[in-house]
Each structure stands twice: as C-alpha cells, then as structure tokens.
C-alpha cells in the first residue's frame, strides 16, 4: 500500500514541476487536471472517500472548465518573465526549509497515538452512531456536530456566486459597455 | 407521454440498483420524487424523444451487444499485435464510406460502434457519409465489408419512424 502512495506522490511532483515549466497555459491547465486526478487517488488511498468524491466532482471537472473559459477570454500564452527569478526562489527555499524543520516535531505519519486522534475525533467515532445515527461519520460531523461551520461555508459559496454575477453578469455587462463608451469619448 | 413513463421506469430501476435500500420507505419515496423531478427536467430540456430515450431498440440490442463485444475483443488483439511488434506495421488510412441508416440515432450507434472497436475511428459524419480513420488496411477492409452496417440497420429498422 505504501508503494502506491510513494508512486502517486512522485507523479504529483513531476506534474507540479511540469506545470511550472509550461509556457502554454492550456497545457498547464491540462496538467493541473492530471494533478487533481492524482491527488484524488491519493485521498481515496488515505481513507478519505468523501474528500476523493468531492475532488472528483470539483477539482477535475468544474475548475478545469472554468479555467478554460477564462483562457478563452484572455489568451493562452504566458509571456516570458523578464524580471530575475532568484528572489522568489530564495524566498521559496527559505520558507520550505523552515517548514521542513517544523515537520521534525510532527508525530509520525499514520501513528494511531497522534495527539490529533486523541481528543474530539475519538468521541465522534465512538458516539456518533448513537447520537446522530448515520453510518457516515463525516456526514454527521459535517451536518450535525459542526453544522454552524458548514452554514458559514455555504454562505461563502453563495457570496462567490453573487460576486461572479456582480463582476461579469448581465447587469454588470451593460454598465461596462457604458463605461467603455465614455472612455472612447 | 408513454416515453416519459418508460424513462421514469428505467430511472427508478437505476435508482434501486444504485441505492441498495429496499426496505426504507423514506429512501424509496425520495427515489420516486427524484425520478419525477428528473423526468420533469428532462421534459423541459426536450431530451425525451425517439433519440433521447430509444426504447424501441431494447429488443434488437440484446442481440447486437454481445456481437459487438466479441468484435471489440477481436480487434483489440489486432491492435495489440501492431503495438507490440517491434517494427510497428501500422498503415494508417483515411477513407469514406456510406452508411445505410435512416436516422441520426442509427448513425450514432453505427459511428460509436466503429469507434469502440479499436483500430477504427469515425472522424466525421456528414449526412450518410462517414469519414473513418483506420490503423491498418485490414481494419479498413473490415469496415468496408459492411457487416456492422447491416447489423445496425437491422437493429434500427423495426422502428422506422419518420424523423
């Protein structure tokens, strides 16, 4: 099982590096699709079936389609950057090193005695069967124990929908046309 | 109307196949509600017609599908041979054929059957002319022999509704 895990991670690294190198944005979006498919396989392998399900529906589908819709409007070639790239590289390496140093204090991967598993999660696993009564613990945590949280998330999605409408919707379109005409004059 | 009903029946059967809860009245009720909702949306989308819900083909299909599956297996072996042999004896070829189907549904079935068998792809359809790409000459000959064409036409024939 661990081998599948390692191979999938290796393929993700290759894909991510290729995305960095690709000048053609269309190819980058296609590779991002592959990246998302790989991550979803990994979620399924790490027992997060619900997350894999969501990533399947969202990451591979909708976000690729939306990216393409944008590329259709903005053009698909990336210009060659002409400012020196060493400063970002230094920033990234330093940040990465700090984070790597941080992992040494983390509990081992997959250890059942990690602190993260010892507090509230145990209670969810043991009691949700009697308290909420749905077999899927993720659903009962999502909808019942942490229902308030999810209400917030739904509001965020609602707001995003309204925001896109406000930026690009039909009302916004006529306003933009008017503005453009004023610019021309 | 009859088509809506039969689409509803098929959808509800699919629901039962997916769900696996046959003794829960709530889920069965939700299944009925979902089926009705989907049939309503499908009606609004105007996808329930002789193309969108081809009940008329269900009897002929029983004979056609196994034959097609066997054809697929045979052509798979052919293509695998081409790929595995070191010299790759691929002789790709474009050619046109005429199909004998009367309706778009029949043409779709035929085109998809051609594409589904590895070694041949329907590239474009213009009326009854198909443009086909084949990996090898043998594959091209297989399509040009017209056996599949006749089978699909026979599958389509009993339902000859004026399109």
């Amino acid at each position: 099982m661990n081998i599948i895990d390692v191979v999938l991670l290796a393929m993700m690294v290759i894909t991510a590096l290729a995305v960095v190198r690709m000048r053609n944005l269309f190819a980058a979006v296609m590779l991002l699709g592959i990246f998302s498919l790989l991550s979803a396989s990994l979620y399924a392998l790490l027992d997060a079936v619900d997350v894999a399900f969501t990533e399947a529906a969202v990451g591979a589908g909708i976000s690729t389609v939306l990216m393409l819709g944008t590329l259709a409007l903005t053009g698909e070639r990336e210009k060659k950057p002409h400012r020196p790239a060493w400063l970002p590289l230094v920033v990234v390496v330093v940040t990465g090193a700090a984070l790597l140093y941080g992992t040494f204090d983390m509990p081992l991967y997959g250890d059942p005695n990690d602190p993260i598993h010892k507090h509230v999660a145990d209670r969810y696993i043991e009691r949700s069967g009697q308290e909420v009564g749905t077999p899927n613990i993720v659903t009962s945590v999502l909808a019942s124990y942490r229902g308030f949280d999810t209400l917030g998330e739904v509001t965020v999605i609602f707001t995003a929908g309204v925001g896109v409408l406000a930026l690009l919707g039909r009302g916004a379109l006529s306003r933009r046309r008017r503005l453009n005409k004023e610019d021309d004059r | 109307m009859l088509r809506s009903l039969s689409l509803g029946a098929v959808l509800f059967a699919t629901w039962l196949l997916l769900s696996g809860f046959y003794d829960d009245p709530l889920l069965l009720g939700l299944g009925v509600v979902s089926t009705v909702l989907v049939v309503y949306i499908a009606h609004r989308m105007d996808v329930i017609d002789h193309e969108g819900h081809p009940v008329q083909l269900s009897f002929g299909g029983v004979m056609y599908w196994p034959w097609l599956l066997w054809e697929i297996v045979k052509s798979n072996i052919g293509v695998a041979k081409v790929i595995l042999s070191p010299s790759m004896p691929a002789t790709p070829v474009f050619f046109k054929i005429k199909s004998s189907q009367k309706t778009d549904l029949g043409r779709t079935i035929y085109a998809n059957s051609i594409t589904l068998t590895p070694g041949t792809i329907t590239v474009a359809i213009d009326g009854e002319d198909f443009l086909i790409h084949a990996l090898t000459r043998e594959g091209a000959k297989g399509v040009m022999s017209g056996k599949m064409d006749r089978k699909v036409s026979r599958l389509e024939a009993p339902s000859e509704t004026p399109a």
Partner: protein
C-alpha cells in the same frame, strides 16, 4: 533528537509541492498562471491535512459491521468543505482576471503595474 526519516516522507513531499505552487504564485507575472499555482498550493494543503488524519490499519470513517479502527474524520470534514469553497473562490479570482483583461488589455501583472504608473505620474 531522533529523526525517523521514513515517518515523515509524506509531509516532505507535500511541503515540496506547496513550495512549487508558492513559487508559481510569487514568481510568475501571468495572473491565470498565478491562480494555477494557487490551486497547486491548495491541493497540497489538503493533502497535508488528509495525511495527518490517516491512521495505520484504519479504514474509511463510515461505520460498518466488524470494523473497529477508523481514520480521523475531522480533517476530512474540513477539507471537504474547503474544496468546494476553494473552487468558488477560484471562480471569483478568474472573474476578476477577465475584468482585468477587459480594463487593461493584458493579464501580466508587471505590464499592469507599468500602466498604472504611467497614469499617475
């Protein structure tokens, strides 16, 4: 300090991926490319959470007969909503990119900055 090399490999790869996304965000002037980088970053953060929730010998957190050890469901819940929120915010970002393209005619941030500086001397 005892370092268990194999015990953290998952986190290390995730941090590498995260930094790749981060690099794209800060080093590339193209706004769509920045959003792609942001997406890579996002997915790596998701992976970090999910890896933390994994329990050896555990199973998917859906109750069933005869299964005793489950992986931690809490990260799954957090990430599940985060994915959908993530795509909604990405969509908002893309909408902004489209507007920027309309207003400035380009989506390279250095060109946009140059234009801004021209306008306000």
């Amino acid at each position: 300090m005892e370092i268990n090399f194999l015990g953290h490999y998952n986190y290390w790869v995730v941090i590498f991926l995260m930094m790749t996304g981060f690099y794209v965000v800060i080093a590339r002037p193209n706004l769509v490319k920045k959003l792609i980088g942001l997406n890579i970053f996002q997915i790596s953060v998701f992976l970090l959470y999910i890896s933390m929730g994994k329990v050896d010998g555990g199973s998917a957190p859906i109750l069933a007969e005869g299964i005793k050890i489950f992986s931690n469901p809490l990260p799954h819940v957090l990430i599940l909503t985060a994915i959908v929120v993530g795509v909604a915010t990405t969509a908002l970002g893309l909408a902004l990119v489209v507007r920027i393209k309309e207003a400035y005619g380009t989506i390279e941030d250095d060109e946009i900055q140059a234009m801004e500086e021209e306008m306000e001397p």
